[in-house]
Symmetry: C2
Subunit: 114 residues, 2 copies
Amino acid sequence: MANQTAGGSHRAAPVHTDPEDVSVLTALSALADPVRLQLVRELAGSPVWTRSCGSFDVPVGKAALSHHFSVLRGAGLVEQRDEGPKRVNRLRREEFDARFPGLLDLVLRAENRL
Amino acid sequence: MANQTAGGSHRAAPVHTDPEDVSVLTALSALADPVRLQLVRELAGSPVWTRSCGSFDVPVGKAALSHHFSVLRGAGLVEQRDEGPKRVNRLRREEFDARFPGLLDLVLRAENRL
DNA sequence: CGGACTGTAAGATGTTCATCGAACACTCGG
DNA sequence: CCGAGTGTTCGATGAACATCTTACAGTCCG
């Protein structure tokens, strides 16, 4: 019957935090980690809603990966949506940029090595 | 004979890091701490070279304080100079801003609660 | 249904880091 | 030279966190 994108999954919906409710400290802490930094960067270089959690080339297991995405959600950086068995991601560019102007741009600059 | 600012103290000079040599990760990590955030903010609101390390109203002992200043120096955020028995500080606004445009401005905005 | 795939949850482990207390170094004024 | 003031270093402690392993909960396909 109902398809994935349509009806709605029976899975617990991911908890999202509005960037407006995020403190500077939380935002900086979220970005101050090599793995999460790479996630954000890869995400920024991909079309929206195209990357599932497992599609990232990071050197950690899926449990840790799940944790990192939880942190990114809590910082208002990433939005997630269930699409069949996968959970696809979107970088909340505009919303996050409205709350912290220039921060994402800064982090995404190639000049900024690790 | 030689006065403090002139001759040069016999004390170990503080180790400074050029903002140009600082990674994004280091910069974000340095700012992702409540005590250091407060130090930077207080420093930004004071004239240059007027604040000694002990003049900040932070809820930590002097040992921890010394550590935090070390981190801030390592991130290219603060410059220190010995002035008599005191060590006075300067926020490296322009230099840091050249390396990470907008980051300091963002952190100093009053709108950004802790 | 059963199995492959994807992600989350819980518990254990190890490391990093913020903090403190105490000892030390240096400067300056009596 | 001594003492007050200022800051650093060292060792230890405790908390936070990143990670793993294992177990579990969904979704989809045959």
